[in-house]
């Protein structure tokens, strides 16, 4: 059947487009407005040009927060994506136990972010938390309130705990969609387990894994609540990632110009990395 193309249909989505444009563009424009102005109060602003942007880009504090952000995002991606795929591969493909696994694995995804932070705060305390007490009992010096390495370990473990299930569920959905004929053909050809994974399962999971990496990148790059509740950016500022630093500048120091310039740089970086990753990953499909 031939599809008819009616451009008038675009009018049907126009109201939604307008609402989204208004609620997304107006706040963004406010930030843009603040990023090029300064004020001494009384709602009187004067133009500052690109001063805030050059200040932010030259600031060591911003570089530090950015490096910590990339270190955090890189580490969780390196752990969560392979771990999620490995767990999805080991899960039962159907039946009662498959449902049990799916229900338990979905649980962390349903817990609000601030509860996750509070839960891990208690769980990791060295004197009363199971994790903290257990590690110290094993002779491993661990105190996330005092030691930067312990704080990093806890923040990363918390994110792995909270979000690996998302990768598992996406990878599992990708695996379920593979036709049995592929496996039969591989069996006839005498393909090894690794060859099945490399040439059947991995290519078939490519799209869901792209979505998984994008979602995890964006979410982890914008993470705020969990590390804020767990460590508050400390000890010192060792776990102060970009969003925590941004809130400190905007609400703690009330430095609106700097905070707005940071917000725009932050937003553009997220957009750029996502666009680059998506374009590179999808390039193969278009050829």
């Amino acid at each position: 059947m031939e599809k008819t193309l009616n451009n008038k249909a675009w009018f049907m989505v126009l109201p939604v487009l307008l609402i989204v444009a208004l609620n997304a563009v107006v706040p963004l424009m406010t930030v843009v407005n603040y990023s090029v102005q300064d004020t001494f109060g009384d709602n009187v602003f004067f133009f500052e040009g690109t001063r805030w942007f050059s200040d932010v880009l030259a600031s060591e504090r911003f570089h530090g927060a950015l490096m910590r952000q990339f270190a955090f995002t890189g580490t969780i991606l390196v752990i969560e994506i392979p771990l999620g795929v490995a767990i999805a591969l080991a899960m039962p493909r159907s039946g009662f136990w498959a449902s049990v696994c799916l229900v338990f694995m979905a649980l962390p995804l349903l817990i609000p972010w601030n509860v996750v932070g509070a839960m891990w705060n208690i769980y990791a305390l060295p004197d009363i938390g199971l994790l903290g007490y257990g590690l110290n009992w094993l002779g491993i010096p661990y105190d996330y309130t005092q030691q930067p390495l312990s704080a990093w370990f806890t923040v990363i473990l918390m994110d792995v705990w909270h979000w690996t299930s998302l990768v598992v569920l996406l990878a599992y959905a990708g695996l379920q969609s593979i036709d049995d004929n592929y496996y039969r053909a591989a069996q006839i050809d005498g393909a090894s387990r690794w060859a099945v994974f490399r040439f059947i399962q991995l290519p078939k999971m490519k799209h869901v894994l792209t979505i998984a990496v994008l979602l995890r990148f964006m979410d982890s790059f914008m993470i705020y609540t969990e590390p804020f509740v767990l460590t508050g950016g400390g000890p010192g500022n060792t776990t102060t990632v970009l969003s925590i630093d941004l809130v400190k500048a905007a609400l703690g120091e009330f430095n609106l110009g700097i905070a707005s310039a940071m917000s725009i740089i932050y937003f553009l970086m997220t957009l750029l990395v996502c666009w680059l990753f998506y374009s590179i990953t999808m390039q193969g499909d278009q050829k």
């Binding site: 696994c101 694995m105 649980l107 208690i122």
Partner: protein, 51 residues
């Protein structure tokens, strides 16, 4: 190798459940028990509202 495949999701689910168990465990302890001793389950089940 494939015989022990069930171990991977089992260990992962255990890892997922431990913090939730600890939160639940803490929610049934009184303040003295939380701060005074390390116990794997509540010794005196606290069900009276203290909030």
């Amino acid at each position: 190798m494939t015989r022990f495949r069930w171990l991977v999701p089992t260990l992962y689910i255990l890892f997922l459940m431990l913090p939730i168990y600890w939160l639940l465990n803490m929610s049934f302890k009184n303040t003295n028990e939380i701060l005074g001793t390390f116990t794997l389950w509540p010794q005196n089940l606290e069900i009276y509202p203290r909030y």
